[in-house]
Symmetry: C2
Subunit: 203 residues, 2 copies
């Protein structure tokens, strides 16, 4: 019985830095509105949480100051009746005989976007693997899973954004067949926010 | 009684190239699942439609070959119970005494995205004004309306993408207070599609 299903055992926190666990048995599942919600909200918000994935991600991207969200909002937005986002988690499953339950070391968070040329598509907003578990193909497995989800939903493509100094990620996505649209077609991402947006709206 | 509401008069096709209509009376409204749907689908799909806005946009962006969508899909996706996108249209209203009904010369098409740092946000997928009606502030009015919608929905920002050779648009967005995230933070947009995506999914 997988975690995330009713009555399933709670996810074990991931071992701390330096810990290496064989990934032979790792598995995948959609975040379900029970234990997975607790886990996701935990890693997305709590910097001192054993998972702490989200805090690591914000720090890694050097944009921690841009964080403005609460547990209630994340919970309501991702696990209500019409969730604004969906989540895939990379789990380390216990070796035979190991007492611990499975624990999560990475995730992919996505939602649906729309192209008036191609229709409904998937956007991979976050993809992250804890440092101790990198270099073992977990990120690639998350990407592949997102491609499966997109095809299952009738989407012809999925997109994501990456920072140009994150060469490792860019190289991985290109190696997996992604096209850099900023490079190839010249797309730039623009954002209106805060004071600028209120001024635009005349408020 | 505005077009788009039940029993409203059909939208008049926009006059052809070269035509100039005073914009004194132009108005705005959300696309409603009736006449506006017919109009939107028309302009999004029919290159020889008097509106022909969508075809112009694809051509303008020099990416016409990327078009793959049908009327049925656009209709179901945008005007069903849980629409994948929303639309604002810029209308020229008739002068007092003019026999014609209002006609549409521009639109903004948006949907909701999600940031694990900021929560729900708006993404402006398309913004377009017919050539004969440019330089009169219609694009700016669409942007301002999108800002209003975003704030009304509790969003802290809205985003859009622009091609780097489209200097006029970039300058306008910057003048209105937008930040070029590709320039400022180094974000690149990546896309997986077609064969690459099927290979990823192992299909």
């Amino acid at each position: 019985q997988p975690p995330g299903s009713p009555g399933a055992p709670a996810l074990t926190p991931a071992p701390g830095p330096g810990h290496k666990t064989p990934l032979s048995g790792r598995g995948w599942r959609e975040a379900a509105p029970t234990l997975q919600a607790d886990w996701l909200v935990g890693v997305l918000l709590l910097g001192d949480h054993p998972g702490a994935i989200w805090a690591e991600l914000a720090e890694y991207e050097k944009l921690s100051d841009q964080v403005k969200i609460t547990e209630e909002v994340l919970r309501a937005d991702g696990f209500g009746e019409n969730p604004f986002y969906h989540c895939l988690v990379a789990e380390i499953l216990p070796e035979p005989g190991e007492p611990q339950g499975p624990f999560v070391v990475g995730y992919g968070l996505y939602y649906y976007i729309y192209s008036t040329w191609k229709g409904r598509n998937v956007y991979l907003e976050d993809i992250y693997v804890m440092p101790e578990y990198r270099g073992q193909g977990i990120g690639t497995k998350i990407i592949k899973k997102v491609a499966e989800v997109a095809l299952d939903k009738g989407c012809s493509q999925f997109r994501l954004a990456v920072l140009n100094w994150n060469k490792k990620a860019m190289d991985l996505y290109k190696a997996l067949g992604a096209q850099d649209l900023t490079e190839a077609e010249g797309w730039h991402s623009f954002r209106f926010e805060g004071e600028a947006m209120r001024e635009l709206a005349g408020r």
